[in-house]
Subunit: 252 residues, 3 copies
């Protein structure tokens, strides 16, 4: 009998990416997570502006670099520079740390979407670009058609994949203030956009299980905590209770 | 005045065991937790199927082995093999990693209890066996008398101790879907079964405090996170607010 | 344009202190957190009585000492000795580990406030003293005027700063049993007492954001988990979504 693991993509992955959220790991902690989980981490985000306050940042970045791991700063850090109209300052920061990938988001600041698209295009001339849709706060539900428009426009502008926002606290982005996932919204988006162009932030175990049960082993998930990377990988392979039967049924 | 610490059992323990849940620690992280807490860890469970996706697993297992720590795979991994009717495959896996202890559970799969008993007996010929009662999901409250029947049957079949299920999320097993502990169920079980034959999964601080306040320092607790082992030990010794007065009153 | 970071105090700090809660880190984990965050940690509390059950405690304390970091035991440990009328035993413990700072609290035990004041004064002859106000449990809301009286009396007795209690679980101290912060109480206290004399326990991200948005970058916060120190520092500097706009508005 085939095991679900056989259906799982391997690195370098085009689908089924796991983006790990590093909120300030020390160099040794990076070595540790790579020791046990490097096969299951495709890209690393240094959460929001943590990079600017992390001691010995270069030392730890070199560990990621030597492991061939793509690293980018959280979108909030770009927003910090954008709202100060200092995109050049951000470029210099990326150059200084040899960062080759950038996340463009407007989760906190409010800018016209055309400006965000322009930012994606301009940064795309120098860097690999991903973008994020969904606001962190001031919840006013954006209708599905608008999500789809924005995602398509950002992809057309050069975004490798578009990330849907979801906060650690379980609210914001694709979640209601109550923390409940807008499942209908997700289904509308996946109906209109190829799922391989999407990554879903899934900071909690219940979100991780839901996305994997709904879309299979090879859905791309983001904001996975270092300590949860192996757990997410077991969910993808039907090796945890939450997905054990789902995969079995799918294959029998 | 006697301190609660004096009432606490020491390794090797028959009662008051702490089972640590390792969800994928790296070798160095295992060394670290043993450095600060090895006196307070009696047995280690590698959560569900994480062992199958953990890089450099043998290297970390050797750290546990050198410390004389018993290690077993989470019951879900056995269930993964059982539902594929591949018990031999599981035996080979345990042999490969020199695992000498096994958890038999049916938290996710549905099998006749007689089959679970048979599994405990067969594995008991080669390995130390513990078993777990309680389902992770599809909540339909099992009445106390049935819990007690199953626990007794599993003990009679050779289970060293029977573990009651409780999920990290606070639901499943002995907890209601709301996360509330079925305290009456626990009291019924402890009334009918010697508490030294039981281990209670207690993944949250509130469950840990409740069990220790209710049954004393030397209740066996499972699914304790590495970062919480010392906290649980302080609860057992009346060194944290939650149990400070309970022990004092009990002794004065 | 000035960045919020420029407004942030530097070590040695009189305001804007971050007190890190160490619940049993191993020596290497202490080295790691200091590597990435030593500029942002002003004082370290070894949570409640964890110090008494931590293996190789001296080894890790020497790492803090070499980094010039002030360390004290959690107030609950003093309460453990106070209720046994063994203040001398506590003094000996501090001497043994070369601890030069002490937290005086009555979060769990019930003693006349005059006795607490006396304890602050007596310990103040030998040690740096901080004190904590607020009970962990048995919730019966203490009115603001009483909080203010106690804080003033403890400051007058020699407490360097007074800490307001708030539990990890989000209840107790300045929080309602529901977990809701008593914001009116906090405002009353800050109206009556200079904020530089206060430290607020803020174990959760929502509490951290609230205090920083309300009182600015340089409010003193306590019970910050090692993994959250950098996150708190980004909040202080407007480098996370939750405070990004607040600081910008305040300065434009």
């Amino acid at each position: 009998m085939a095991h679900a693991a056989e259906l799982r993509t391997a690195k370098p992955r085009k689908t089924g990416l796991t983006m790990m959220l590093d909120k300030g790991l020390a160099r040794r902690a990076v070595e540790d997570v790579l020791e046990v989980a490097s096969d299951h981490i495709d890209v690393v985000k240094l959460g929001w502006g943590t990079a600017l306050v992390t001691g010995h940042l270069e030392s730890k970045l070199s560990v990621y670099r030597n492991a061939g791991m793509a690293v980018y700063f959280g979108g909030t850090l770009l927003e910090y520079f954008l709202i100060r109209k200092d995109l050049d300052g951000y470029r210099k920061l990326m150059d200084r740390y040899k960062i080759e990938m950038v996340e463009v988001s407007d989760g906190t600041i409010t800018i016209p979407h055309a400006e965000k698209i322009d930012c994606i295009q301009r940064l795309g001339q120098e860097f690999r670009v991903v973008s994020e849709v969904g606001r962190k706060d001031e919840y006013e539900p954006v209708p599905p058609y608008r999500w789809i428009q924005m995602i398509r426009a950002e992809r057309a502008a050069g975004s490798e994949y578009v990330i849907t926002e979801a906060r650690e606290s379980g609210s914001g982005g694709v979640c209601r203030p109550s923390g409940e996932l807008r499942k209908g919204l997700i289904d509308e988006i996946v109906h209109a956009v190829d799922i391989s162009e999407l990554m879903f932030e899934a900071p909690t175990a219940s979100l991780q299980s839901w996305f994997i049960n709904r879309f299979g082993s090879n859905v791309s998930l983001g904001n996975i905590q270092p300590a949860d990377v192996l757990s997410v990988e077991t969910l993808r392979r039907g090796l945890r209770g939450d997905t054990l039967l789902a995969f079995l049924e799918a294959k029998s």
